[in-house]
Amino acid sequence: MEIITFLIGFPFLAALVLVFMRKQSVLRSILVFLSCALIIAAVIYFAITGMINGQTQSFLPETHNLDLAMAIAEIGLMILVVVYAFRYRKYYVALLSVAQTGLMLWLDFSGEHKVQAAPHILSDKLTIMMCLIIGVIGSLICVYAVGYMKEYHEHHKEYKDRSAMFFALLFVFLGAMFGLVFSNNLIWMYFFWEITSLCSFLLIAYTKTEEAINNAFRALWMNLLGGLGFAVAIVYCVLQLGVSDIRSFVAFGNESALVLVPLALLAFAGLTKSAQLPFSRWLLGAMVAPTPTSALLHSATMVKAGVFLLIRLSPMFHGNIVGMMVTTIGGFTFFATSMLAISQSDAKKVLAYSTISNLGLITACAGIGMHEAVWAGVLLMLFHAVSKSLMFLSVGAVENSLGSRNIEDMHGLIVKLPGLAFLMITGIAGMFLAPFGMLISKWAALKAFVDSDSMLLVVFLVFGSATTLFYWTKWLGKLLAVLHNSARLHSKVGTSQWLSMLVQAFLMIALCILFPIVSTYLVEPFLADMFHSTIPAVISQGNMNIMLIMLFAIVILPIAVRFLTFGKKQKIVMSYMGGANTGDDRHFVDSFGDNREIYLANWYMEDYFSEKKLLKPSILLATAFILILMGIVIGGAL
């Protein structure tokens, strides 16, 4: 229990100290590093002891004083939102916040409700996995942020340096995420849920430009809308079902008609948080923030909170209308946003769409609500956290060195910034290529979809895989172009940033090799506990070995190739350009004998896949679908 208190409490404490360290100083950097090291150490200790004990543990059945403190904190959060809403004249946001906080306060103080006693804190294998993501990846992002923010403010003099608040918020975010994943009590979970919404609002608004403010408010209202759904679900659970904790709620199972309304509302909250269509625009807007924010929102925190809730609820989704809503929205989001990613050249935007797309797949897996599918979903979540964080951080580093984050400008990065290019290649390979992580999970997901007769999902998955392949591979091609006569650029990446990224690249590869262990000791026990069943290994030992052989083959490939071309002297020439290459790989001689510049661009196929063509229809379609299904569920209960 102490370690859990530490994990939740310590980040808040660190934030409290950091917020007062206004000046950029060595002391502050050391403090951030130390806090991160402590959190990582604590998380690893917690994970190891948790794996050895192996039991699901629960704590704190009675928490009157803490509840009171939380109620007060909630009022504080509400006041903060209202103040911001009035300052920027976004009154609807205030309305949303007041409505849900009022609802929760009414529930807290309207006298005794007959609620089944249950522990407030719960720790099982899923919690351990989430803690590892939050603690390790989240902390590494904070480590990276130290160097990045220094560089950022040297580049962007126009923004006020509010990095003290920035670092404090990062730690608050981590603390809130720890709180969220440990909460069994829905009211507690809701409380931490609201903190993450507000935190992301403040982080997105960091630069205080008009765009940042607008995007931040979009993120806020969408997440508050989800929060409102969450709050109504809690009230419904308490009044109608007499439960206020997630375990007892899940125990109702998928057959009871009584649970459909709160289940649909909670699923709705999960969908908003994990930026599924039609709520994807808040995550796309979030990229105006400094890169560590994006990395944190996309990989270790925030969106993972949404899918965490969906995975917790997954046994209830099986075979009912809410499950259908979740799977269809997830599958559709996977496909639609992977097409949208094709038309984007802004690296961060491609990453944003890819996050939404992958979360769609996880959502769909959770919505199936069967053992095999959720297995795939959990693994997708793990792999995605590592690869995506690595991708964001390397894009941030390239942006600081190159002055652009446009993928077109990354042409020849392998020559200009080999180190960063290799990190990026590792990240991209991890996102979609055999035999790396995401692909293994996608494979399992495909099998699970077929086994659960979800033909629509199979169609989404096979077409979505093709479009996913397209946008990643063309990025990869840009990085690998060997542009002769390029000067090595000086990468302005500090030691701490390198450390953070290298550790993540290492983790990604290690996870690919060690994932059978993760599956056996973490994912499987969690699923066996949740579904009360065991299944044979989703991916057989034989196939696992073949994957390892592939991984090995990629590693020894350079040596093998030397062998194939052994004894041949290679003559290097310049590439053919239709006219003679002038020798610098950038110009050719045209038919008039003049030197002309050449520029190689990727395909974006805007006529088919642009935001203009696809985004609005997708959002409309998803909105209509959610409205109709929510209407059926709620109408059926009335």
Binding site: A434, P435, V450, L469, T473, I546, A560, T565, Q570
Partner: protein
Amino acid sequence: MEKLAAIVIYLVLAPFIGGLLSGIDRKLSARMQGRKGPPLLQPFYDLLKLFAKQVVVVNHVQDFLVGGFLIFVIFTGCLFFSGGDLLLVFFALTLAGIFFMMSACSANSPYSSMGAQRELLQMMAYEPMVLLVGIGFYMSTGSFAVSDIIKQPTSSIVYLPGFFIGFVYILTIKLRKSPFDLSTSHHAHQEMVKGLTTEISGNILALVELSHWYENVFLLGVVGLFIINSTWWSAIIAVAVCMAVFFLEIFADMVFPRVKWELMLKSTWLVTLGAGVLNMIILNAVR
């Protein structure tokens, strides 16, 4: 042991069969155009000559990437003929394809680059159907393993006619036949020089050629998988069907002019939906 034998046979025989197929292809194409055509063994002479030539490269990354293409194509074939998991086979094939595409990207030349983008588009076009084929076999036989699929009492094509049509359709792309030979073509006429392979020459080009032979034998193997069942004579029919499909592809190559990428993408996805997905839905309903 059986697996090992299958792998060795594939490793040794595939280049000969692949080269021979290429020879037949050239001969047949020539006859259809009213030419005499080269000798049947010409592809082998070409290959040997390529191996003997001086190596001219535009960078040192390229041979590494082409090597990756060769190794993973061979890996794909070995996995398939030793009875491995069909989805894994297709994933390995995709990886091989990406290595090849990357070799063109690394060349930093307009023609290679253009070829690479087109190749990528072709991959996007055929990938859904390829994955669906794996799923189709799983739905009809209950296993992704090739070794299980060939032990069925009836040929899979009975359950998977739509999948078969879809696969033959995308095979045109995979075999680099007109109307879908956008990224590169084995014919001399090509509006963008040689597309993908513009900057590849000498023994590296030989490796590309060799990879294609391995790949083609594997692809026809997938065609055969639709036919083969537990009876011994199904193998003969399978070979006959493979030859018929191969002839059909050559015929299409001769008859149709190269199309624009839009038409290729749309038509391929439509066929995937209309043949593959429809078959899948029906199969799921009656299963």
